[in-house]
Structure formats: C-alpha cells, structure tokens
Amino acid sequence: MSQTTSADGLPGLEERAQRGPVLRKGIGVAPSGWFDPRGRAIGSWAFAANRITGLGLVFYLYLHLGVLSILLVGKSGWNDFVALATNIVFLGLDVLLLFGVLFHGLNGVRVALVGTGIVPDRQKALFWAFSVIGTLTLAYGAFRILGRA
C-alpha cells in the first residue's frame, strides 16, 4: 500500500517538549514577585507572621546578649542602661517583644498540635482561640509594663 509517511510534522514539536516557564505566587508577570497577598487565608498570614516574629526574636536574642555584655563594663554603664530601659519608647518596644513572644509561642503550639496529627483539622479554630488568649495576655502585660514608665 502507500508508503507515504508524515515527512512534514507538527511545527514546533521540539519547543513543545521543552520545560516551560514556571510561575510562582507573585504580582505581575512571574517570576518577578515572591509574595502575593491576594487571596490568602488566615493560615498563610500565621505562617508568614511566624517567620517574621521568629526573625525578630533571633534579632532580639543578639540584642539581649549585647545588652548583657554591658555588665562587663561596670556599674556606671549598667546604670545608664537601666535609665534608658525605663523610657516609655523602650517600654513600648518591650510590649512589641511580648507580642512577638506570645504570637510565636502560641502559634508554635498550634502548629505542633496540628502538625503532629493530634488535632489535624482545627487549624482555624486554634488560631482564633489562641488569638483570644494571646490578646488578653498581651493586654495585661502591656498594662504592667507601661505602668513602669
């Protein structure tokens, strides 16, 4: 029978076979963006905030060690620092620190409970429950801290 085979072919077969561009979450023509806040739910915000507070706490740790090293200098240096530490701005930052500790700690408990399959299906409920606990604790803490000004 006929010996015709398809001498011509589909144009661009090789191009089809190549791996195309992979878009990532972001705004605009990818892959320009990396963080896209559109359409995100509470789980993502907690995920992002956990990382930000984590970085903040690491930064604070180094800051704290740096502060403690003032002790090596002697009494006068330390007394100057204590005077600074009762300044209202400084106390405000302490409240911010408390927020970071509470968020990171409570969200960490949430992630542990969900992430080890103890309560696998209650992540939103846990977030709101811990938000209430955290807010109340923060409010009380802020009251006590700022009272020292």
Binding site: G20, L23, R24, K25, V29, G43, S44, F47, G115, I118
Partner: protein, 254 residues
C-alpha cells in the same frame, strides 16, 4: 446559597455589563510573557470559562485554555484569578470586580497562555493512585443484590490548585505537594486491596510530609472537599506514633 428560586430570580434580572480582563499570554518563542486586555460582555450567570470562550470566539482564537467538563469534575480549568486559585467553570464573573486578572496556576510549567503541562503534577504522585472509594453517602441504605457496597470516585479531581496555592514549591520543586500526600493518606485510610506497605515510608521523606510548613492554603484552594492539609497532618500523626487520624467525613445529604 443559591437554590432553584434564587436562580429564577437571577435569570429574570439579566443585565448586560462589560468587564475588563487582563489575560496572561505566552507562546513558545516569545522572549517573555505579557498580558492582553479584553472587554467582555457578561450577565449574572456568566462564568470565567464563558468569558474566556467568548474571547476565543469573538476576539482572539489563539487564546489557549484547558477545559472539559464545565462542572468542577475534571479539574482541567484551574487558573489564578486576581491571585486566587479557582476553577474557571464554576467561578461567576459578576462578583469579581471591574478589572480581572487571569493567569495560569503557579508551580507547574506553562505550556502556552493559560495551559500548564500537568506532567510534573502527576509525576509527584506515589505509584498507586486511589480513584474509587466507598461511598459515605447513605451508609445506612441497603444495596442491591450483587453490590457489596456503593462506591464513588475519590474527591480529588487532580486540578493542581493546591500545588499552586502552596508556598513551598517556590523554595523547592522537589516537594511532592498536597495532592500527592492527600492521595497517599486516602490509600492508607482505605486500601481497597492495594499494596500500601511502603506508602508511609514514601511520605516520610524530607520532601514528603516534612516539607509542609502549615500554611493551609491547599485546603483553602481545593474546590472538591479533599482537605489536603488535614490529610498531611494525619500522615504526620501516623508517623510520630499515633494512629492514622481520619478527618471528619463530609456530612450526608438529608
């Protein structure tokens, strides 16, 4: 919740408006992708898929998109609209705002325009792919002679929206992803005669369950009640020594 009466009312109040669509365009050989803008007439019932097909028919026949079933069963029409993962066929245009950006899903290579090449999505799955499950609906109903139990398809429609919504693939493409892990959990939950001996080991990899960092976007994006996040956590529960916890099943219809 739209019922029959709501539908009738919506039909009666048809108004023709126009919405502006910014649609992602990419043909092989292009230096870079770009966006094309189209003004599309819509009605109260118009879906994104209707709008894209209108563009194809009346403005630009070269606009490529995937679609098949038109009712959220085949999972082929997944895209990102204004940054959110949705299925074109069941998303009404009416509630979306005046300017609507349509892009392909993230984390899977783009073939052309809104079409992604699903090979890398499917390559992530374990060798065995659950497909039919026991029907949880009307467990109390009797079944006809010769039928041991009613069966139904697994919920997952393999749309890839979960993989697109997940933040982890931006860090590593080796993460197997929510769909594959959810499929593994379903097989362990209901083996149906398959050999599942290695499945927990398969999941117990750095790029398996442990790569998940609890953003939960996958369950948020899933259009088909799979709840992959909870299933990933159930796998982790099993791996840390607990039982394979089974998330709540969907409520029976009354």
């Amino acid at each position: 919740m739209q019922t029959a009466t709501d539908q009738a009312a919506a039909g009666a109040a048809e108004a023709t408006e126009t919405r502006r669509f910014r649609v992602f365009r990419y043909k092989r050989g292009d230096k870079a992708p770009h966006f094309d803008t189209f003004d599309v007439p819509i009605e109260s019932r118009t879906t994104l898929l209707d709008a894209m097909k209108w563009i194809q028919l009346h403005r630009d026949a070269s606009l490529m998109l995937r679609h098949s079933c038109y009712h959220a069963s085949c999972g082929t029409c997944g895209v990102r609209v204004n940054g959110r993962e949705v299925l074109l066929c069941v998303t009404a245009v009416h509630d979306l705002g005046l300017e609507i950006t349509v892009e392909p899903v993230a984390n899977i290579p783009v073939l052309t325009d809104l079409v992604v090449d699903m090979e890398e999505f499917y390559a992530r799955f374990p060798d065995q792919h659950p497909y039919v499950r026991e029907s949880e609906f009307n467990a109390a109903a009797s079944t006809p002679d010769g039928i041991a139990a009613y069966v139904r398809y697994e919920d997952c429609i393999e749309c890839g929206l979960c993989l697109s919504a997940c933040p982890i693939p931006a860090t590593t493409d080796r993460y197997v992803g929510p769909a594959a892990l959810a499929a593994a959990q379903r097989m362990l939950e209901e083996p149906r005669g398959a050999d599942v001996a290695d499945l927990l080991d398969w999941a117990d990899e750095p790029d398996g369950v442990w790569r998940c960092h609890a953003a939960f976007e996958c369950s948020e994006a899933c259009p088909s009640n799979v709840n992959p996040a909870a299933r990933i956590m159930a796998l982790r529960g099993a791996l840390v020594g607990g039982a394979l916890v089974i998330p709540d099943r969907v409520e029976e219809m009354r």
